[in-house]
């Protein structure tokens, strides 16, 4: 079970409070987790990564286990602590005022 933390605006959009938990078959990667997330919450399609290119949107970052995974390849396995559910996979919006 993968624990995913969304930024507040996307939690509101997906009508999620707190973390969401996703079943991901096999060794989880960023791609497989995001695929599972979008399958469970179709309204999130296009808000985290581009519909077609699947590229991360520029003001969105991916953190886990105190590491920035934003620039990892999408098929790189996620850390064991994320795969085991000990640590969440965090989708983060860039900080901004206004």
């Amino acid at each position: 079970m993968i624990r995913v933390v969304l930024p507040p605006h996307l939690r509101t959009l997906a009508r999620i409070s707190g973390e969401t938990k996703l079943e991901v078959a096999g060794q989880p990667t960023q791609r497989s987790v995001l695929d599972a997330l979008e399958a469970s919450y179709p309204m999130l399609r296009g808000t985290i990564r581009d519909h077609d290119t699947q590229r991360r949107r520029p003001f969105v970052r991916f953190f886990a286990c105190e590491r920035d995974l934003s620039h990892e390849l999408p098929d790189t396995p996620l850390p064991d602590a994320v795969a085991s559910g000990a640590e969440p996979y965090m989708i983060v919006g860039a900080i901004a005022g206004g």
């Binding site: 930024p7 507040p8 605006h9 996307l10 509101t12 959009l13 309204m43 399609r45 296009g46 808000t47 985290i48 519909h51 077609d52 949107r57 003001f59 969105v60 919006g93 860039a94």
Partner: protein, 371 residues
Amino acid sequence: MSRVRVLVGTRKGAFVLESDGKRDRWDVSGPHFAGWEIYHVKGSPADPNRLYASQTSGWFGQLIQRSSDGGKTWEPVGNKFAYEGTPGTHQWYDGTPHPWEFKRVWHLEPSLDDPETVYAGVEDAALFRTSDGGQNWEELPALRQHKSGPGWQPGAGGMCLHTILLDSHHPERIFVAISAAGAFRSDDSGKSWRPINRGLRSEFLPDPEVEVGHCVHRIAMNPKRPDVLFMQKHWDVMRSDNAGDSWQEVSGNLPTDFGFPIDVHAHEPNTVYVVPIKSDSEHFPLEGKLRVYRSKTGGNEWEPLTKGLPQRDCYVNVLRDAMAIDSLDSCGVYFGTTGGQVYASADAGDNWAPIVRDLPAVLSVEVQTLQ
């Protein structure tokens, strides 16, 4: 008894303001989609409870929301806006080629007779259409593929398609306007387009009377007289009596003819409203006085409307999509400001009062007249 519903898009959410036909007491709901930029909210003329909203964010991109109960509840629908084919380039601010990139939806224009069909004007400029209530969007690519497209250039707000007018007398006719390319018309439901900018003159262009390249801010029509169009250009207020084939300036005695919105009275097709703004470098009312100007002669002769509007120390702007007209017998006029006020007049502009004073900056105002 008739009612009105005012749909307000702001920098931080959407608001729905409702009143009976007297328009002196208002119920305010919102913010809907709190924290997101709502560029536009508009209802279907064929089903007033069907609303569409353009919700956008620099972080999370574009969403389209749909309501089937007049704005009480909403559901996200399709948000994929893909240009057809390889979109190529337009001109960047410095004249160099720049790839066409989808950024956001500026304007949603529901069909006059089908609540499932909606047109979307987007940045970078293109026209999209859905015929399934917003689930799927397809580009009408002939506009972007017009031979002038590679020469289109953004205005300061981006290269946006911000105006879409549908013509009930000619169901296959569509007018659009793009900053800063100009106005275009299709007479075959978007299969082909031609620029309709003859008579426009823009001193900031190398050729001031060039066919394409004008910064048109807004076009308006009275639906009962769709061949007569009024335009607020960057500078100049213009009028066309032949569906855009040619334009003449009708700025007349306006104190400044720079501005963004323009609209036409619901029952008097020669009565036109603008909000003069000091200049393109100072986007606020002249002398700190917020004045709507009304012409009852189809332009040239304008009168300031000031009762109930701040006449000192007012430095807000009124954006291009932030004025609307209802169709009650005593025609209502509405506009929103970047200071968060939404003003209403229930007597065609003679008297004004704020419906709300402290919303986030207002991006768009629409009104529905409900029976």
